[in-house]
């Protein structure tokens, strides 16, 4: 089970596998929906985390039906962002460093990160 959704009156509950979704992704996705829902993140059974989303009274009707999809898509996007950051974060930091404090040997730094220059 990667993600199990349980619908409840006025909201839903999702059990997420920690093997697939990192804590940062879960928090970022929950934060992204915090204008529409009251959210809670708590531990579930070993290896899982439980997210409860309760729709706020102020949540527009048009969004109510979409919140569940929105959350699941957001979660995937946030996890992908973390994965991409693992791949390219070092290059991003190198670009910023090179912009403000140029390295003596950029080629060597690039090779160290990318494996080629």
């Amino acid at each position: 089970m990667d993600a199990k959704v349980k619908r409840k009156p006025g909201g839903f509950e999702v059990i997420l596998s920690k093997a697939l979704y990192e804590k940062e992704a879960v928090f970022a996705a929950t934060y992204a929906l915090s204008g529409l829902c009251r959210n809670r993140v708590e531990p579930a059974q070993a290896g899982y985390v439980k997210v409860t989303l309760e729709l706020l009274d102020s949540c527009p009707d048009a969004d109510r039906a979409r919140v569940e999809n929105k959350f699941m898509n957001e979660l995937i996007d946030q996890q992908l962002r973390l994965d991409l950051e693992k791949r390219y974060g070092a290059i991003r930091r190198l670009i910023v460093q090179q912009a403000f404090a140029p390295l003596d040997n950029l080629k060597a730094a690039v090779k160290k990160i990318v494996g080629r220059d």
């Binding site: 670009i95 090179q98 140029p102 950029l106």
Partner: protein, 484 residues
């Protein structure tokens, strides 16, 4: 290469890199991009390569190039505070509905900046490391304390004989008090006027009232023509403030700006704080941001049409964003920068010498919350003021790269943060992006511009380039030689 992404309304992925190059991809292509499944000889790979999202050749030159672009985009950090707003008096002969929280009756001179304070203000200004200094006189109505305006101009020019900075002066005036000697002085000293025009008479007079209660429009128009006759046509530049009533009249407002021959218009949403909460007109200023954005989008398309039909008129806000999107250059815009421009790019000196990072912070102080007080020119040194813990905190909490919600947003390179607004509206400096109307507005408008650019309509793009490069459509199209 690193990039950020987000799904957009057109069911595509918006992908933007660290320096603001962007591309829209359909879902399938996006998935192939992130799974390294794009063949190097395909058109889409070459598009992505041209924008530095991928590379199949040497990596170091690409990183070096991106670093150069990144540095250029952040150039505004190098110059430090260039815009210095000086409130020479709180007195005003008008009593507009937007700002009565701070404007004072004309007979109360105790709200005037003294010549001594003015000299101390100038000394602080001229200590700024910025090579380009703009001194903007604000009020109240600055012309009510014109002797202090003159003191500031005289002292700044005297000090500048040694400093040799590029010095500009602007007086923000409602124009109702201008007379020939004032205008002749402005002409002699190279001072331009910035003023307020909300639209045709009915719209303008709804909120821009004289202290006696009558509208200010007729006197404004008379003095606009008079001012232009002395300062030249472009010596007066107006700003408009959108109240709820004006949202459905944006086209008429645009028409009026065009008819008066102004070079541009800045469709501006009013800041909903700084007003007394019990104000009878508060409804005019606290309206849903969605309404503003919708009106803005329609008006922008209308302005583009006007340009294509031969009436040149720049929409200022779009022009700033388009420069950020389409050029490698930096565009300092105090209201939308990362870190915030408040304090480090613009600063405001109140009539009593108190210094605040922006006018909204000054307004909060007027309402009793001195959270953003940076110091006083009569007591504190330049370093005390500009390295104050308050300013450092503002900078720390306004880098979009580290803000919740912004940290993964692809619009980062075009956007910014406004911690003072976050504090005033949401109660803390960091703010809450999912419910922030600042975020909602910028996201909607930036994505709208990106979609327009992506549609690549030759006419629309010509208009955009004419705005960014300050050229005519004919010049952009190569039908006339460039005049600048």
């Amino acid at each position: 290469m690193p990039f950020r992404f987000s799904p957009v309304a057109s069911n595509r992925m918006l992908v933007v890199n660290e320096v603001g190059e962007f591309i829209f991809l359909d879902r399938q292509t996006f998935e192939r991009l992130v799974s390294y499944d794009l063949a190097p000889n395909t058109g889409i790979f070459l598009d992505l390569k041209g924008k530095h999202f991928v590379t199949d050749t040497a990596v170091t030159p690409v990183i070096d190039l991106l670093a150069t672009k990144y540095r250029t985009k952040r150039e505004f950090l190098k110059s430090f505070t260039g815009l210095h707003m000086v409130v020479v008096t709180l007195r005003c002969n008008q009593r507009c509905n937007y700002c009565h929280a701070s404007s004072q009756p004309t007979d109360q001179q105790r709200w005037d900046m003294t010549p001594e304070t003015a000299v101390n203000v100038v000394h602080k200004i001229m200590e700024s490391p910025s090579e380009v200094i703009k001194i903007e006189f604000q009020g109240g109505e600055p012309l009510l304390n014109f002797e202090v305006v003159k003191t500031v101009v005289r002292e700044a020019k005297r000090l500048n004989r040694k400093k040799n900075k590029h010095l500009d002066f602007v007086i923000c005036t409602n124009l109702t008090l201008v007379d020939a000697p004032t205008l002749e002085y402005c002409k002699k000293e190279g001072i331009t006027l910035s003023t307020s025009l909300d639209g045709p008479k009915e719209i303008h007079d709804r909120h821009r009232l004289m202290r006696t209660g009558e509208g200010s429009y007729d006197r404004f128009m008379q003095n606009l023509h008079f001012s232009r006759s002395i300062l030249g046509h472009d010596g007066v530049n107006p700003l408009m403030t959108a109240s709820q009533e004006s949202l459905s009249h944006f086209n008429e407002i645009v028409d009026q700006y065009a008819a008066l021959g102004f070079q541009g218009i800045f469709l501006r949403h009013v800041n909903p704080y700084g007003y007394a909460q019990n104000d009878a007109t508060i409804q005019s200023f606290v309206y849903p941001m969605e309404d503003f954005v919708e009106a803005y989008k329609k008006a922008l398309l209308y302005i583009i049409e006007l340009n294509l039909a031969g009436t040149p008129l720049v929409e200022g806000y779009a022009c700033i964003l388009l420069s950020r999107i389409l050029t490698p250059f930096c565009t300092g815009f105090v209201d939308l920068q990362s870190p915030t421009g408040a304090g480090i790019n613009g600063v405001i000196y109140d009539f009593n010498g108190e210094v605040y990072p922006c006018d909204e912070a000054r307004m909060l102080a007027k309402m009793g919350d001195r959270r953003f007080y940076l110091g006083n020119v009569n007591r504190d040194s330049y370093l005390d003021i500009f390295t104050s813990p308050v300013l450092q905190e503002l900078i720390e909490v306004s880098c979009v790269e580290t803000l919740p919600g912004c940290h993964s947003c692809p619009l980062q390179p075009y956007c910014g943060a406004d911690p003072v607004r976050n504090y005033a509206i949401q109660g803390d400096l960091v703010g809450h992006r999912p419910t922030s109307d600042f975020c909602m507005k910028h996201k909607a408008i930036i994505e709208f511009l990106l979609e327009l650019i992506d549609q690549d309509d030759p006419g629309v793009m010509d208009v955009f380039w004419s705005w960014i490069t300050n050229r005519t459509l004919a010049e952009v199209r190569g039908e006339a030689p460039c005049s600048n």
